[in-house]
């Protein structure tokens, strides 16, 4: 579990050291009230650094801060991960993409009409960057989500 008390001293210092990088958000930001959950069309946006085989990996260069598109019908066998960080577990994702990218769970909830639907397209960033680095592409993504009639996004890290 990720409780700081359970981490090694080095890991704990690293985690706490990042807090100062995360300032600048005061909690008074925008608040969008979505339709009721049973009417919500939901997309996944992850910072897990996942993408389709053959897409440009999240390694170095300008493409690091770009998103990768994951069509909702992409088979699990076609999804891989190239996140730069080595300080997190990957064996869960290797076994089952839903532990990071819960596409099958979303489909099940849509089939049961718990949610209104699942987006046609989902998106992946790599989170090992300063928060501000994702701002331009993050904001641009909103336009694509609206065209896909998305009401709400589930954001998943690693």
């Amino acid at each position: 579990m990720v409780r700081l008390a359970d981490l090694s001293e080095t890991e704990r210092k690293g985690m706490l050291g990042r807090i100062k990088e995360l300032s600048g958000f005061n909690g008074a930001g925008a608040w969008i009230t979505p339709p009721r959950l049973s009417d919500c069309r939901v997309a996944i946006v992850t910072t897990a650094g996942i993408h389709r085989h053959g897409d440009v990996p999240f390694t170095e260069g300008p493409a690091q801060a770009d998103y990768r598109v994951i069509p909702g019908n992409t088979p699990a066998a076609d999804i891989t991960m190239s996140h730069n960080s080595i300080n997190y577990d990957r064996t869960g994702f290797q076994q089952d993409i839903n532990v990071v990218f819960p596409i099958d769970r979303l489909r099940e909830l849509a089939a049961e009409k718990v949610i209104g639907g699942v987006a046609d397209y989902h998106y992946s960033f790599m989170g090992a960057l300063p928060a501000k680095a994702l701002e331009p592409r993050g904001r641009a993504l909103a336009g694509l989500l609206k065209k896909d009639k998305v009401d709400a996004v589930i954001l998943t890290p690693v």
């Binding site: 909690g27 959950l37 769970r105 993050g138």
Partner: protein, 239 residues
């Protein structure tokens, strides 16, 4: 993750985030977040447990029904350990008997890869996928590249159109994925932390990664220096 919540919400899309590090989420105050008590890398708790994943996902989605925020709630159910998921149950699937000359780490590395190949094939057949294909090299080729680079920081990237930093990251990713996918083939080899410890401390691959880290840290090549800073997980390096 939390920053994306702010950006998307400001652009008109409602968001709810899974939080793995509560302290970070408290600092960033995204509109809605569900903190979960799971290891980094597993925001929905446990692989191949649809019911558990569903409970996490639903708890997060229910936060979309809150009238105002920011909202940060806790998901308090711990991820169940899979059968055999403890230190005692972890079984290394290969013995790695010392058949090559002691000290010849590159040769040991190649032999490990050959010995793991059956286990890796079993995992691929069972899962229908592998994540050890980013570099485009075979694992034996990837190991050869890393072994050579660990002894000589002047060797070029394995591909002309790829700089040395992404090159070394991709091959190291593939090697680690190959080993961890291989050990997953055997019942009892499911404990993620033990598998990682085995990879980094008990294998020639891990030994090569530590050697690579030293070489990169001592290199005058700034790209390799950057790689050296994060070549080995923090918990296996001195504070």
């Amino acid at each position: 993750m939390s920053a994306l919540g702010h950006y998307l919400e400001e652009e008109g899309i409602a968001t709810v985030a899974i939080s793995l590090v509560r302290e970070h989420t408290e600092a960033m105050k995204p509109p809605r977040a569900l903190w979960v008590p799971f290891v980094l890398g597993r925001p929905f708790g446990i692989p191949n447990d649809a019911q558990f994943q569903r409970r996490v996902l639903l708890a997060a989605l229910r936060l979309l029904e809150k009238p105002s925020g920011p909202v940060l709630e806790d998901f308090t159910e711990e991820a169940p350990a899979p059968t055999g998921d403890d230190a005692e149950a972890f079984v290394c699937p290969v013995s790695f008997a010392p058949t090559v000359a002691e000290g010849d780490v590159a040769a040991e590395f190649q032999r490990e890869i050959a010995e793991l190949s059956t286990w890796h094939e079993l995992t691929m057949n069972r899962r229908g996928r592998t994540t050890a294909t980013l570099s485009g090299l075979s694992i034996a080729e990837a190991a050869k590249f890393v072994s050579e680079l660990s002894e000589n920081d002047a060797i070029p990237s394995y591909r002309k159109d790829l700089d040395i930093l992404p090159a070394v990251r991709l091959v190291c990713h593939d090697i680690r994925a190959y080993y961890l996918e291989s050990v997953a083939a055997q019942p009892g080899a499911k404990a993620a932390a033990e598998a990682e410890e085995w990879f980094w401390t008990k294998t020639a691959a891990g030994k090569t990664m530590f050697r690579l880290r030293e070489t990169c840290n001592a290199s005058k090549n700034e790209e390799l220096q950057r790689f050296g800073l994060r070549a080995v997980p923090t918990r296996f390096t001195p504070a």
